[in-house]
Every structure is written in structure tokens, then in C-alpha cells.
Amino acid sequence: MNSKLSEVLAAAKAENRAALIGYLPAGFPSVEGGIRAVRALIEGGCDIVEVGLPHSDPVLDGPTIQTADDIALRGGVRIKDVLRTVQEVAGSAPEAAVLVMTYWNPVDRYGVARFAADLAAAGGAGVILPDLPVEESEEWRKAAGEHGLDTVFVVAPSSKDKRLAEVTSAGSGFVYAAAVMGVTGSRAQVGTMAHDLVDRTRATTDLPVCVGLGVSTAAQATEVAGFADGVIVGSAFVQRILDAGEDEEAALAAVRSLAAELAEGVRRR
């Protein structure tokens, strides 16, 4: 059976374009405001959204997402709010695939089977758990499989070819190729490592390969769409919301317009 995530990626491929994947943390700037912001990602043109489950110790995130996580946690966001965000978004946008991206400890603490069941019930399509390497992932993958959830693994420029094969054979949905060595955050250049990593990854798998980390502009989206199946953008959306301050309408408009620019970018390859 084809997963929601595979369907969405296949549809983009059929249109001969890359998919656009947008990230925003749940609870940012508030639970309700966060739901509206994730919807704005889809309204602007994202095919897939990653809903972040904010964590107290986001070791893979740069200052922008750290700030957003901080605001969400200080606002009291809970896992149940994250799941409700998934449910509201998936319910109102059945054409999109909704993923949760988070660190492992919140899932572990919530309960592996319980999280998988509740995420699936909320209409979630899968997860990205960047600090859960393949070696530690067996219990999660089993639970995810039972509930029809995809598990997207990250590969990095430092991943050796043998390792790439191990990682891609464990994952499903797509492979997340990190464009650079580093944490999340916008960068002036996508860099040369991304293309090489995508090629090396494709040699090990038929899964779509999507590129993230540092991509923030339409021009970069076009560049990445030239060699990848999807373009992942996070910090740039978060930054638009931070820049809008208290003005929620302005924030949502900024998110929508960036998503629209990027959506055009991924179609221009």
C-alpha cells in the first residue's frame, strides 16, 4: 500500500517538479497561531509539512528555531497540542502529508507505541527523528509500521556509502539529505556537498531524496530542485514569523508569500 507521503511525492514527480516541504514548530507563536501558520504553509504551496515538536534541548537547531522552540515551550505547548496541530492541519488539508519532526526523548517519554498510535489517529503521515540513528530505531520502526507511518531518516555529507545503504534501507517515505554539515538555519549558499550526497544516496535506494538545511530562497529552491526530489525549508519560515512580531496577519501573509515563491522555485528547474 502506498503511503500518503509516497503519494504526494509521486504526484509532484508526475508534474515533473520537486516537492516543497515546509517546517514550523507547533505552539509557535501560540498553539492556535501555530495551527494557522502551518495551514499557511500549505495555502502558499507546500506539498508536505513538518510540524516540529519543540524540545528543551534542540542540539541540531540553530538560533532561529531555538528561539521558536523557546517561545513555544514557554507558552506551555504540550505533546497533546502538537498532535492536535497535526489533526487540525491534516483535517483541513487532506491533499497534504503532515509529518512530525522532533528529538527522540519526547517520543520515548510519551511512549513509543502510544505516540505512533496517537499520531496515526491524528492523521499524521510519519516522522523525522534526527537524533535517532538507525541502530537505535528498531522499536520505533516496528510501532510506526503497525500504524502505517513512514520513518524518514537523515543522511549527511559525512555518511559513508556503506552507511548510506544501511540508513536508506531502514527508512521509508523519502530520504532527508542534509545539504551541509551543521545545524538548521539559513545560509547564503546551498553548497556543493548536497548534489554529491543526493547522487550517492540515489545509488543506494529508489526512495525520493529531499534536501534540507540552509535552503531559504526561491533561487536556492530552484537550484536544489535541479537534482533532488524535494526541497525542505524551515528556518526561513520561522524567521518570517519572528520578524512580524505581534502582527499575526502579517506573519501569516509572509509565510504564505514565501511558500508561494518557493513553490514557484521548485517548478522552475
Partner: protein
């Protein structure tokens, strides 16, 4: 798990870095290759006579090992008359046990061909030891330290800078050790080709818990022989403070097969383990994942880390090394909370009865020994890890006890 798992020859951790249910490697893919390189290089180094000989020579001629064992009669009188023996890691070069691990990993860094070292530090002792080794070996050095800790351990910030290290004050989260570790990981992911992360305690992803422990095992190996020679028998108990747990693992390890020797770790209870302001991870935490390993963590129902509090920067940490988690669950070691106030009283007591000013971290172990001595009585012998000296803590102590003329209590 039974105590038999601690008989000599038991292989811990296993190949995946697990001590029972604890340990492992919960890290981003980008760091897998680097951590595997550390593990592979360490496996080779620890079986390489040339590496071991070079480390031994450094420990002897540079650090000043073996560190002495000191009988403290006047202090013992306050500990129910039990005989207290101090293992004097405070007399090592740079003033704490931290140098043992740092020299080992510095040699390893050179073997791996890396030229830059980063490290986290809480009390600043690991940072000072790392900056020292970088000066000695000619490595570039960046130390991450929580902003709160740069203030309460300002002397050590100056020492690190004097030694040529860059010190970065970390302003995120609780602005203490936990956040310094987060920031060091972020640096490592971005610079892993040139850089070794010289982790300062027995936590973190495999192989750090086992490797850091191995570099500190010298503490227990020396102390066990010294106590036997001095007293003709093994001690009744070994007591050490536990932040991440490196000095404790170092002194405990050699005694693990000695079933009659109690192993007691003293955690920071801050304002009290029953209050929200403490760092008593093994006493009050739950199993979870922090900084790359499964271990006990101070966390809420959603798996968010709870900020710790302790007067001691080196113990102010909401996690703990996975081997301690295992020792606790198996019952081979006991972990007790010690409050700020009890530690500060012990600090002053050792200063005034023996002329030894301990680090506030080590004072937690001394406070634990005072209680234990009264429980065990005058027949008992208690070995205490005096993990560091207190010079760095004089500002905190002066404020606590009103030692400055301008603000005398």
C-alpha cells in the same frame, strides 16, 4: 540483573555501548562517522604500548601522579570517628581529576590527525584542563561555558584565556553545563573534519562513557593499592561526588568486584531534593535520553529536560553517565542527595580541620562521608575522592560565608 554481572571479566559496555539498559548512541547522522572514528581509534590506542607509555609518562611527569592518599584525623573526628582517607586529585596539575581524561583524549586527537579541540565546562576545571593540554600539544581550543557559570567561576575563565583558549559564554536555556554541551555539539556538527569534541565526563554517546571512565580508572587503581598498603584492608565505603560522574566512575571502577566495599555517589540536592531546585538526577530523575545516551534525566511528562540547580557549577546537570544509571539499578552503588548547605559546611570543616580547601563539588562527597561515618562508626574506613581544589570557588564561598570585608555577615 544480578550482582554477578560485576564480577571481573564482565564486558561492559556491550558492543553498542550499553550498560544494561543504559548508554547507546543517540546522535545525529552527521556525527556518526566522527564518533565511530573516536571509538575505532580508542580501541587501537588502548592496545598500543606506545600510546599507553606516552600517557603514563604524561600522568607522572606532567600531572604529578600518583596522587597522594591523606589521612584526615581531625576531620574524621567529626565523621563519627570513622577513618576518612582522601584521594588527593586536587593536587594534580590544574587542580582536579579532569586532567586524567584530557591528556588521554589529547593524545587520541593527535592520533586522529585533528588540530582543533572543543569542550564544554561547568566548574571550569574541565575547560582549564583542556586549555592546558591544547597549549601543551599546540591545538586550537574553544571552550563552551554557560553564562551563569562564567560568572560564578570567573577565575577559571581567566585561566583558560591565559592558556590561549577561546571561551564562549552560552546564553541559551538554563545557561549552565547542559546548554554548554548543546552548543559544543552544534559546533562539532559544523566542524567535525578538523575538530575533536573532548567530552569531559562519563556521559554522552558511546564510546565516551567507557573511554572517559578508562582514562580515570587510574584514580581507583592507585587508591585501592594505597588503602591496602596503609590500612591492610579494603575500605568499607568509597564516596565520590557525581555530576556527570567521571571522578566517581574513576574511583569506583576498580572496587566494583569487591562486593564488601560500598560505593556511594553524592549528587547535588541544591536547596533540597524535595524542592524543585536541585540536581539530584539519580534520586529524582527518570530514564530518558539526553546528550546522546539513555540514562536518568530530570525531565517532565513530555520528555522536556527540567533545569537543575546547585551551588556547584560542576554538579549542576540534569543528566548523569549511563554506567551510574546501571550501577544504581543493579544496586551495586548507592546515590545520595547532598544539599548546598551541607556541602558548604563540609567545605569549611575540611578547610579548618585539615588546611585543605576542597572544590564545592568535592565538598558534596565530604558531606556524604560525614553522614556515612556517623552511620558506620569508628571501626569503619571511608575512602573519599577529593576531586578538586577550591581556589575557583572562593568567590562563592566568600559570599556564602561573608568573608569579604565589605559584606561580612
Amino acid at each position: 540483573m544480578s550482582e554477578n554481572d560485576y564480577l571481573p571479566g564482565a564486558q561492559v559496555p556491550d558492543a553498542r555501548g550499553y550498560f544494561g539498559a543504559y548508554g547507546g548512541r543517540f546522535i545525529p547522522e552527521a556525527l556518526i562517522a566522527a564518533v565511530e572514528q573516536v571509538a575505532d581509534e580508542y580501541e587501537k590506542a588502548k592496545n598500543d604500548p606506545a600510546f599507553l607509555a606516552e600517557l603514563d609518562l604524561l600522568l607522572k611527569d606532567y600531572t604529578g601522579r600518583p596522587s597522594p592518599l591523606t589521612d584526615v584525623d581531625r576531620f574524621s573526628a567529626e565523621a563519627g570517628g570513622a577513618r576518612v582517607l582522601l584521594k588527593r586529585e586536587d593536587l594534580n596539575h590544574t587542580g582536579s581529576h579532569k586532567i586524567n581524561n584530557v591528556l588521554g583524549q589529547a593524545l587520541l586527537t593527535r592520533r586522529m590527525g585533528k588540530t582543533r579541540i572543543i569542550a564544554e565546562t561547568g566548574a571550569g576545571q574541565h575547560g582549564v584542563a583542556t586549555a592546558t593540554a591544547c597549549a601543551l600539544f599546540g591545538f586550537e581550543c574553544t571552550i563552551y561555558m554557560g553564562e551563569v557559570d562564567t560568572e560564578r567561576q570567573a577565575l577559571n575563565v581567566a585561566r583558560m584565556r591565559m592558556l590561549g583558549a577561546e571561551v564562549i559564554a552560552v546564553k541559551s536555556g538554563s545557561r549552565t553545563l547542559k546548554d554548554a554541551i548543546n552548543e559544543a555539539f552544534r559546533d562539532w556538527v559544523a566542524n567535525v573534519d578538523s575538530t575533536h569534541y573532548l567530552f569531559g565526563t562519563v556521559a554522552g554517546p558511546h564510546p565516551f562513557p567507557a573511554m572517559v571512565r578508562d582514562f580515570h580508572r587510574v584514580i581507583g587503581i592507585e587508591a585501592r593499592a594505597q588503602v591496602l598498603e596503609r590500612t591492610g584492608r579494603l575500605p568499607d565505603a568509597v564516596v565520590a561526588c557525581v555530576g556527570g560522574g567521571s571522578n566517581a566512575m574513576g574511583i569506583f571502577h576498580e572496587f566494583i568486584p569487591d562486593a564488601g566495599v560500598r560505593l556511594i555517589g553524592c549528587e547535588a540536592a541544591g536547596e533540597g531534593a524535595e524542592t524543585p531546585r536541585h540536581a539530584a538526577t539519580l534520586t529524582k530523575g527518570d530514564p530518558g535520553v539526553l546528550h546522546g545516551a539513555r540514562t536518568y534525566v530530570l525531565q517532565d511528562e513530555d520528555g522536556q529536560t527540567i533545569e537543575s540547580h546547585s551551588i556547584s557549577a560542576g554538579l549542576d546537570y540534569p543528566g548523569v553517565g549511563p554506567e551510574h544509571a546501571w550501577l544504581k539499578d543493579t544496586g551495586r552503588a548507592e546515590y545520595r542527595p547532598v544539599t548546598d548547605d551541607d556541602a558548604m559546611q563540609a567545605l569549611r570543616l575540611l578547610s579548618r580541620t585539615e588546611g585543605i580547601i576542597p572544590a564545592i563539588e568535592s565538598a558534596h562527597a565530604l558531606a556524604g562521608a560525614l553522614v556515612l561515618g556517623r552511620e558506620l562508626g569508628p571501626q569503619a574506613t571511608i575512602l573519599v575522592s577529593l576531586s578538586g581544589r577550591g581556589d575557583k570557588d572562593m568567590h562563592t564561598a566568600a559570599q556564602y560565608f561573608g568573608l569579604y570585608d565589605s559584606e561580612g555577615k
